[in-house]
């Protein structure tokens, strides 16, 4: 299975999903014109990958803003991870956010409430 790479735009995140290592990276902001269309191929990739990859999947997410449509799609990704986890396969989410931004932390905690796989809120190290 091929890896999935997408370039970052002003309103959509960079995607680097490595099918060899199982490390899936996402960073930037997410408020694309049509979040459903934007996330459709991403969800399809994750769904296939979750089904066949035997090792641990690590999803490193550094998204500073998600609009509501993107939040819904993120939940869909986590549902796929949840299915995988319940089948006894490994998956971990590292959700990076600015610990000084209580809203960003709250948003992360709301995702965490709805999943049972390892979901770790990591402090974002300032990078320029």
């Amino acid at each position: 299975m091929d890896s999935l790479f997408l370039e970052k735009t002003k309103s959509s995140p960079a995607i680097a999903f490595n099918s060899n290592s199982g490390i899936l990276e996402m960073s930037g902001e997410s408020y694309p014109e049509n979040s459903y269309e934007f996330y459709k191929p991403i969800l399809l990739w994750v769904s296939r990958f979750c089904a066949h990859f035997p090792g641990e999947i690590v999803f490193n997410c550094r998204i500073s803003y998600l609009n509501t449509g993107s939040t819904k799609s993120m939940m869909d990704i986590f549902d796929l991870f949840e299915d995988r986890f319940r089948r006894g396969l490994q998956v971990q989410v590292n959700w990076y956010c600015d610990s000084e931004n209580e809203r960003a932390v709250e948003n992360a905690e709301e995702f965490m409430e709805d999943v049972s796989f390892p979901f770790v809120i990591q402090p974002l190290i300032a990078q320029q």
Binding site: Y31, N67, K72, M75, N101, R103, D114
Partner: protein, 187 residues
Amino acid sequence: MTICNSMKKFDLYDLKQTVNQRGVLISFAGPFTHGIIEELGQAVTRYLEAQALTKASLMDVFSVFIEQAQNVRNYAAKRGDDSNSELDFNSGIVTIGRSGPHHVVCSGNFLMRCDVEPLTARLNQLHSLGPKELKTLYKQQLREQRNPGEGGGLGLIDMSRKSVLPLEYEVRELDQNYCFFSLCATV
């Protein structure tokens, strides 16, 4: 282009005064393309960063602004094609103003009359809900199947959760077919 005799046609003082009197700091009126929303998003972020705002407040103002702008854009995309109107549904207005310690984020756009009732009913329903109920409804709606291109319902709940006052709205009836709808969140 002909040169106009009366300079008053270009005198924006009254418009600027109205904007000032309402406490508006940033406004955009015109067509909402996705590219414009992106540019505005960046401009709003830079503007807010220059204010002494907490990171959480900045995020709230930005997210309400984006949800409103995208709601106007999505409505136009939905209605633009199936209307014979000369009204441009894509043409709207968004403003960000200050009210005491809060920011007031508003949007205004044209609606077909038949779309007003479901929207105001939804907003009135949201008015009656407290923070916990809004959270429950938000999470419920996150899990619901969606039709491509639709998402306004979730956006309204999200704005309601961020707004310190219930979302305010005004409907101005223009004729038998169209209204102008204004929506306001205080964050």
